[in-house]
């Protein structure tokens, strides 16, 4: 917003030392002064909103284009909707989103099973290339994971 009067220009020395060369963003930014027009610039047409789009509460309206790749759904979608009630400044925006991502992974597995498709996790993790180029490392890791799980199982049994 432009201030309604320009009295500030009467402040002694106003603008005296302004130096257009003092611009650390050069040459990244070609300073035009347009920044002072804020969000009042010419825009493209609006992409129709055909799926649910969550949006940052730090802007008044949706952007003219946006991705429609995976609309929020299921339990993870509920968490994402909650997250978007809070600004990008807040942990309560980002932490729920990470939580939603992890839940979404489980939803992905369930979705696979529902389709009668057993996900080939070994293939998805690309372990074939580890086997080919880093066999010793892969075996070391497998042994470590097996040992750790055996210890956990035995601890669990003893508690019972």
């Amino acid at each position: 917003m432009e201030p309604s009067n320009e009295d500030y220009k009467l402040i002694p020395g106003w603008g005296m030392d302004a130096d257009p060369e003092n611009e650390p963003t050069y040459p990244m930014k070609k300073y035009t002064g347009d920044d002072h027009n804020r969000i009042h610039y010419e825009r493209s047409d609006q992409q129709p909103e055909l799926v649910e789009i969550l949006r940052s509460n730090e802007r008044p309206a949706i952007t003219r284009v946006f991705g429609t790749s995976v609309p929020p759904s299921g339990f993870s979608g509920m968490i994402r909707r909650y997250a978007f009630q809070h600004s990008e400044d807040r942990y309560r925006h980002w932490i729920p989103l990470i939580l939603a991502d992890r839940i979404n992974m489980l939803e992905g597995l369930i979705e696979d099973f529902k389709k009668g498709q057993i996900p080939n996790i070994i293939k998805e993790r690309g372990l074939a290339v580890e086997w080919k180029h880093n066999r010793a490392g892969l075996i070391r890791k497998a042994v470590a994971v097996t040992l750790a799980s055996l210890v956990l199982v035995s601890l669990f049994k003893r508690k019972k």
Binding site: R55, V65, G108, P119, R125
Partner: protein
């Protein structure tokens, strides 16, 4: 069509998906001919970027052939071979108008801190990416650039991100003739930054990493000095000493949020996610640069914050310069550097893998196996 599909951390697969459609009059649909895996994709692959939804397709470095255009597209025609900058930019907002094409205000409703990026989570706009046979490209008159007829297609695909990012990393360093420049990270970005640093006239370019084959590659490709930080007791002291106990003139972070080398940073940033990744390289950059020096950052950090020695930035009077690369701004100059033979982007490519084997391709790059520097995915046997 065939497309890469994210299933959760460290799990991706190739699936059949519907071909994307025009959703906006300025869209184009591109048939992808080449697409790369980037260090930035690894942050998604490792589950480090919030709002990375299962089922999405990654890929922000791609070239292709224009297959279909929306009614308002004027500069492109069907059949054009194009390279597509990774940023989605409207060309009209104040940021685009001032050359900040990586900071467009009309391409990402999900966050205001970052512009739209192809295939880079919903935090960057929720666009499906180019690791697929086809991709929707918004604002098709702004980003996509027709590939010069004489240009090698492998060079073209690296102009979508790696070359401009390496160049901008060096450019933001404000390098002066005779300077000593230190680059952290010998991945494709760091290696390209080291190569591009020479355009600005330094007397020494030093690259730091802990993977020997990458250091060796960097030394040959970028004609720079290369050192392994695992062999140093303290990288900051090493760099002070090698600059006559003065500090480097310019330090450049080409590592980002998955840095190694500092237990506290790793634990808080990568194991527990209490900060947005480990800021080890950035910390080293701040502490190794001279007083009044410049730190340039292209390494990617997630939201919301990272632990860096800010007091030292103040006390040493350091200038920090950082951004997502404005690919479009730099293309004319970089196309010239490539066409004149001064830059050899395709020299970074070590692997070429069909899109069907995307799971293996990600693993290979993520685990730095088989001396991998840069991987190109080929979506279909036709090209």
């Amino acid at each position: 069509m065939l497309a890469m599909n994210y299933r959760g951390p460290y799990r991706v697969r190739a699936v059949q998906k519907p071909v994307p459609e025009i959703l906006h009059p300025e869209d184009a649909i591109i048939r992808v001919t080449r697409t790369c895996i980037c260090g930035s994709d690894l942050h998604l692959y490792h589950g480090m970027v919030p709002d990375t939804r299962v089922g999405s397709t990654f890929g922000h470095e791609f070239t292709g052939i224009v297959e279909e255009i929306g009614p308002l597209v004027q500069k492109l025609k069907i059949g054009d071979q194009v390279l597509v900058p990774f940023n989605i930019a409207c060309g009209k907002c104040n940021f685009c108008k001032q050359g900040l094409f990586g900071n467009c205000h009309e391409s990402n409703p999900m966050a205001t801190a970052v512009g739209g990026i192809f295939g880079y989570s919903h935090t960057a706009g929720g666009f499906d990416g180019g690791q697929a046979e086809y991709v929707r490209v918004p604002y098709a008159d702004v980003g996509p650039t027709v590939i010069p007829a004489e240009m090698d297609p492998d060079d073209a695909v690296l102009l979508t991100d790696v070359v401009p990012t390496g160049y901008q990393a060096a450019e933001m360093g404000g390098i002066k003739e005779g300077d000593t420049v230190v680059i952290f990270g010998a991945g494709p970005i760091g290696i390209m930054a080291a190569r591009c640093a020479w355009f600005f006239g330094p007397s020494r370019v030093i690259i730091i990493d802990h993977i020997d084959y990458r250091l060796e590659f960097a030394k040959n490709y970028a004609k720079c000095e290369a050192y392994n930080f695992k062999e140093m007791e303290d990288p900051v002291v090493f760099l002070k000493k090698t600059t006559d106990w003065y500090g480097a003139d310019v330090c450049i972070d080409c590592v980002g949020c998955e840095a190694e080398g500092n237990t506290l940073q790793t634990f808080s940033g990568r194991v527990t996610l209490l900060q947005a990744g480990a800021a080890t390289a950035l910390q080293w950059a701040i502490n190794s640069v001279k007083k009044g020096g410049i730190v340039s950052v292209v390494g990617v950090y997630g939201p919301p914050f990272n632990l860096v020695p800010f007091g030292n930035i103040v006390n040493k009077g350091i200038t920090i310069r950082a951004n997502q690369t404005s690919v479009k701004r730099l293309l004319p100059k970089l196309i010239d550097h490539v066409m004149s033979g001064r830059l050899d982007p395709k020299g970074l490519i070590t692997h070429r893998i069909p899109l069907e084997e995307v799971s293996e391709a990600y693993r290979l790059f993520s685990s730095k196996l088989d001396n991998c520097i840069k991987t190109v995915l080929i979506p279909s046997a036709k090209h």
